[in-house]
Symmetry: C2
Subunit: 389 residues, 2 copies
Amino acid sequence: MNNFIYQNCTKIIFGKGTETCVGQETIKYGNKVLLLYGGGSIKKTGLYDRVMQSLKDSGIEVTELAGVKPNPRLSLVKEGIDLCRKKNINFILAVGGGSVIDTAKAIGVGVPYNGDVWDFYMGTAGPQETIPVGVVLTIPAAGSEASNSSVITNEDGWLKFGLTSEVIRPVFAIMNPELTYTLPDYQTVCGAADIMAHLFERYFTKTKNVDLTDRLIEATLKTVILNVPKALANPADYNARAEIMWASTIAHNNLLDTGRIGDWASHKIEHELSAIYDIAHGAGLAIVFPAWMKYCYKEDVARFAQLAKRVWNVDDNMFDMEEMALKGIYALENYFSSIGLPVRLKQAGIDESRLEEMADKCSFSGTREIGNFKKLSRQDILNIYKLAL
Amino acid sequence: MNNFIYQNCTKIIFGKGTETCVGQETIKYGNKVLLLYGGGSIKKTGLYDRVMQSLKDSGIEVTELAGVKPNPRLSLVKEGIDLCRKKNINFILAVGGGSVIDTAKAIGVGVPYNGDVWDFYMGTAGPQETIPVGVVLTIPAAGSEASNSSVITNEDGWLKFGLTSEVIRPVFAIMNPELTYTLPDYQTVCGAADIMAHLFERYFTKTKNVDLTDRLIEATLKTVILNVPKALANPADYNARAEIMWASTIAHNNLLDTGRIGDWASHKIEHELSAIYDIAHGAGLAIVFPAWMKYCYKEDVARFAQLAKRVWNVDDNMFDMEEMALKGIYALENYFSSIGLPVRLKQAGIDESRLEEMADKCSFSGTREIGNFKKLSRQDILNIYKLAL
C-alpha cells in the first residue's frame, strides 16, 4: 500500500425530498447565485420550480445560465465566467449531472483567475481558489458531485481535457434518488457504465497489497451490477435508484484511490471518441473498457481472475487463471450488452476512418504514453481502437 | 435506505514516516499546543522525540499532559481543561489510541464551555465549539481519529458514557502503520475486536435495502479478519498493519452508517463491563458480541445467514438459514479465540457476582431499553451477560 492523503469535505444530503433544503444550504455560502443547468428536463419534472422556491425562500438572488450539453463546452464556461463577474455572483448551483457540475467547477475557478481558464485544463496553471459550488444531482454517473475533477471540451480543436484539484470539490451535494425516476433508460445505463468505469480505473493497479480498497471496489461494483437491471425493470424503484446514486459518489470521491494508483488509460482513449463523435461518455466507456481489458489482462492475470471470481462469480480455476480472467471480461461485455449498451464502435455508428487521428490526439502525436497498469504507446492505443471495432 | 447527511472533513495523512509532518499540519491551526499521551511507550519507541522535533521545527510552544489510561477518566479531562485555560492553548495534539483521542476531544469541547464538561456526556447539553484536535495514531481500534464520538468514564459512580457530535471530529489524523509494529499482541487483537464490533454494530440493522453499505461493511470485515493473523505472525508486516489501520478508520468514520440505523446495544453492554472491571474494551466486546448474536439472531435470520455466507464462507443452505446463521456466529467465536481473545466472562476473570448491578446500570434501573436491531430490556441485558459467562 502506498502512502496517501485523503480529505473530502463535500457534505452529502441524501434522500427523498432533499432538494427542498437547497436554499438553506446555499445561503451559508452566498446570496447571489448562478443557477446552472442543461436542457429543459428540470422544468418538465418540476425540479426547477422546487429549487427556485427554496432559493427564493432563503432570500437568494438568482441568475440563470442554461444550455449545458453533454461533453460540456469551453464556450459556455467562458460565458458563465463573464456572467458571474458582471453580476458579482458568489455561489454557483449546478442542477444536473456531471456535465453541469463540471461546467460549474470550471466557471468557479475561472472567475477569480486573471488568465484563460483553459490553462487549468492544459495543466499550465493550477487553480488557487474558487467561487463555492453546490450541486443538486439528477444523474448518477460522473461522480463529479463529490470529486476533485472536471472535464471540459474545447471546441477549438475538439480537445477534451480534465482538471484535477482539491480546490474544486463541491461544498454540498443534494442527492434525491427520486429525481432519477424519469431518466431515459439509455441515460441510466450510460451512467452505470461511467460508475463501473471509475471503479475499474481504480481496480486495475500495479500497486501491491491493496486488500481493503480492492474489496471496497468489488463491493461497489456488485451493487451497481445488481441494481441497474432493477431500475430498468421499474424506473421508480427507490431503493435500486438509491443504491446506484450513492455508488456513483463512492466510486469517484477518491476514497477508493487511497494507497493505490489507478490506470485511467481507458478514460483518455474514450475522451477522443466523445470529443470527435459526441457520443455519451458512458457508451464510449462500455466500448473501450472490454477492448482495453482484452489488450491488457496479461499484465496481471491474477488481478483479472480475482475480479472475475469476486464480482462475476466465475468458478475458481487455479490451474488456468487466464481462463478465469477472460470469463470475467466476457461477463462484463455480456452485462453491458444485456442492459442495452454498445460494446463495439460499429454499434455506435463509428467506423475505422478516424482511428489514426484519435490515436494521434490521445498520444499527443506519439509523444506521450498513457495508463499506469500498462503503459500504452500510440500503437497500443490504435490497437485498442481496432479491437473495439 | 433511509435519508442521511454525511460529511467528514478529517484529513487523513497515511503511511510510512508521516508523523514527521505533524508540525506543518499543526501550525495551520495553532501555535500553543497541548500534547496529550498515555504511558511512556511513545518515549520508548522514539515517537515522542520525532513529534517534539517536528513541532519545534514549526515554532510551536508545547505543553504536555501524560497519563491517559484505557477507559479514560473524567478527572484527567478536567485537569486538561484547566491546563488549556491557564496556558491559552489553541490546539490539542493526541498521540496515542482511542483513549487519548477521546480525552483530547473532551478537553477540546470543555475549554470553551462554561458548565461542567460531563453535561455533554450526560446529554444535558450539546457542544457548540471546540479547540481543534489533531491526532498521531498509534493503535488501530477505536476509530476515534476520524469519528464524531468520544467515550469517557466518570470515576464518580464509574459511569462510562459517550458523546456524539460533528463538532468533535479531529481536523487531521496522521496514521503510520509502522508505529503499530511494537504493539503487544493482546493490544493488536483487542483493537481488531473493537474494529469488528464497530462493523457489526452497523451491520445489524432493521433498515431494509442497504445493499451497498452491507457489502462495504463485509469488505472491511474480511480485510480485518484476514490481516490480523498476518500481523500476529509477523508484527512488522507493513501491509497487514496498514490494512488493519485503514480499516479501523473506515469502520467508524460514519461512511458505513449512511442510510441505515445501527444497533449499538453490545457497546452499551460492554461499557458496564469495562467501567466496573476496567478490562480492555476490545476484550469486553469479544465476550459480549457472540452472546448478543446468539440472543438476537432470530430477529433477522437472513441477515445473519448473509453475513455467515459472505464473510465467513459458510456454505449456502437455503433450506435452513438458521444453521447458516449459527455457523457464522460460531465462526466468529472461534476466530476471536484463535487470535487470543477471551469469549467468555470467566476467561476474563469475571464471575456472576455483579451481573445484576451491570444490568441495572445499563438499563438505567430498568427505565430504558437499548439497541435498535432488537430492543433489549433490563432482563434481556441480564440474559446476555449470563449467556456470556
